[in-house]
């Protein structure tokens, strides 16, 4: 079977310091892949390279029929890049919710402006997603007043509203307290199990390993140390 994501020879350096060197990886449909490793080895950078949030110097990333490659002209091929991003929204460690918009508007902005959904449809869908993450009662609140766990749920709803094929999660539990960490993993599991591909980067795999279908340990420069399939 064709892999959903195929990474070939991906290399990235900052100021001549290599962060990722010659990474090769294939990820199948609906895999829940946890990439674990100590802080500072370039895990987050790797995840960001996958949708060209950080440009890379060598190699390529294929997502379905779309291909990102080293040093591509991001102006000319912004359509391709945007399509990849739509397919695989990124969940940030610190959530990056839009501070000037209500919870509801955070969720509807992407569908309305990027997918051109009509406002009523976008709103109904957003309310349904907020209900599923247990935050429909906060629809009119601003992110500044939410707890970390609540912010993460809004971020998940915002990503899911784009009807994605995959989610990229950067340290999804690290800025949450221990109880909330467990709760968050349950939410993720409930929402996406067996419908979405997920790439989760974390340095504290303990919380999230239980929902993984595949666990990769990364060493310095994102070298793959072990690759274990589960279930």
């Amino acid at each position: 079977m064709q892999p959903f994501i195929k990474i070939e020879g991906l290399s990235k350096s900052f100021n001549n310091n290599p962060v990722i060197s010659d990474m090769n990886l294939e990820i199948g449909q609906r895999e829940i892949l946890v990439l674990k490793g100590p802080s500072g080895i370039g895990k987050s950078t790797f995840l960001r390279c996958l949708t060209y949030l950080t440009p890379f110097e060598k190699g390529s990333v294929r997502v379905g029929d779309l291909r990102l490659y080293a040093a591509m002209d991001s102006r000319k091929e912004h359509e391709t890049i945007r399509l990849v991003r739509r397919r695989m929204p990124f969940l940030f460690q610190f959530f990056n919710l839009f501070g000037h918009l209500t919870v509801l508007d955070n969720v509807t902005l992407g569908p309305m402006k990027v997918l051109n959904e009509n406002p009523r449809h976008a709103r109904d869908n957003a309310m349904e997603l907020l209900r599923r993450v247990g935050l429909d009662h906060k629809a009119a609140a601003y992110p500044g007043l939410l707890s970390g766990g609540q912010c993460q749920r809004v971020a998940i709803a915002r990503a899911l509203a784009m009807r994605p094929q995959a989610l990229l999660l950067d340290e999804p539990t690290s800025s949450l307290d221990p109880d909330t960490k467990r709760e968050m993993v349950d939410v993720i599991a409930d929402l996406v199990r067996e419908t979405l591909t997920m790439l989760i980067v974390t340095h504290e795999a303990a919380f999230i390993e239980r929902i993984a279908t595949r666990i990769i340990s990364l060493g310095p420069r994102c070298a793959i140390l072990s690759d274990e399939k589960r279930r």
Partner: protein, 488 residues
Amino acid sequence: MKKITIIISILLWPAVIFADEAWDTVRAENELRWGADVNGGAPYVFCDPEDPKRIIGFEVDIVNAIARRLNVKARLVIVPWDQLVPALLRGDYDVVFNGLEVTKDRFATIDFTIPYYIFSEQITVRRGEDRFNLLKDLRGYKVGVLSASLAQRIIEQDAHITAVPYPSPVEVYKDLEIGRVDAAFQDFPIASWYVTPSPKLKNVGSPVGEGIYAAGVRKDSPVLEEKLNEAIKDLISSGELESIFRNWNLWTDRQHELKERAALSTRVFAAKAPLGKYIPLLLKGALITIAISFLAMVLAVAAGFVLCMGKLYGGSAARFICNVYIEIMRGTPLLIQLYLLYYGLPNLGIQLNALAAAVLGIGLNYAAYEAEIYRAGILSVPAGQDEAALSLGMTRSQSMRYVIIPQALRTIFPPSTNDFIALFKDTSLVSIITVSELTRVYSQAATTTYRFLELGLMTAFLYFLMSYPLSVLSSRMEKRQYAAIHQN
């Protein structure tokens, strides 16, 4: 600071009110301090073009001749023309010799010596122009005059002639040459000095109206006034005055009347000028101020946004150009920029009308400040906000429009309002390019009536009335944004 100013004013106050007879000071110091403006002052009092450190002029010759007769030295104190009388009252010097016309309004505040020159007003046109000979020929046309002069009052008596007031006589002729006005109307000595050698201009028609120049003294100096009168009488009867005027090519037959006039007092009935008629003029000036401010703000916002985008996201060439523009606009005075736009560009064949030059000058200047405010505002939005927008598949411009700018506005609003209040007050600078905005109207009214205090307070109050709503609006919007984001 304020306290110190108040204390100093209180200390100086009695000195001004109970000033000693000026003649005592002149004798004690052995020095006659006299006030004049050298800026655009030819042929009265001006810097010798061949030796700019030397100050010459027919009034310099007259004062020196008088000082010789009084056995004292003459010392010139240079003050802007419209400040001559206030500075005299303040005691900066004891007498004004600077083409000061004797008018009723001026008599309300100061006294005059006997006249030393009888002048009329002169029409000047471009060479080749033959439509204008009499004042009434100018109906329907624009005529350049010196602000707050007898010439301006004569022109304004005819409702069909448009008077364009200038801060100094030279600009009147400059603008006449390039066609911004159709004719000039100025005191004969000025017209004689500037126009006779000009290849482009000529004086036409016979002189209009009559005015007299006399020296101005404070009302508390009757002895000095009397000493000056004796000296001037002696200059007239000895023929020295005539030779000075012949020297400067200013002698006219009318000057023979000086002898008879010397016998008469120059005193005329002095009444305080009524302020009522200036209120509508000030309001009209305020309207023009509002119009210029509004248009300049729109321009500053638009151009500032373009500059800011160029500096943040442009290529290296665009960044360079924007940087140079911002640095030059911020690094040079707005006043000079206005002069260049209005009086300088015509040398390159680009001629802007006064209002356009005012709006462009202020708008383009403030655009540089706005650009930096916008840039700071945009940079204050965390990078993660842009990344979050991009990671949903938004384009750069969508991210800018829906995510960055709405959040940057919170940072941009307060300094931007601040800037607009400053812009609003800076419109007073465009009075130098003949726009009759509020400050121009004020200074004209004040220099005619000498009621600086009342008119100054009225004008300041009008400015405040116009700028205060901006502050209120701004703090309302800030509060609303804050409330929206921090509500429960």
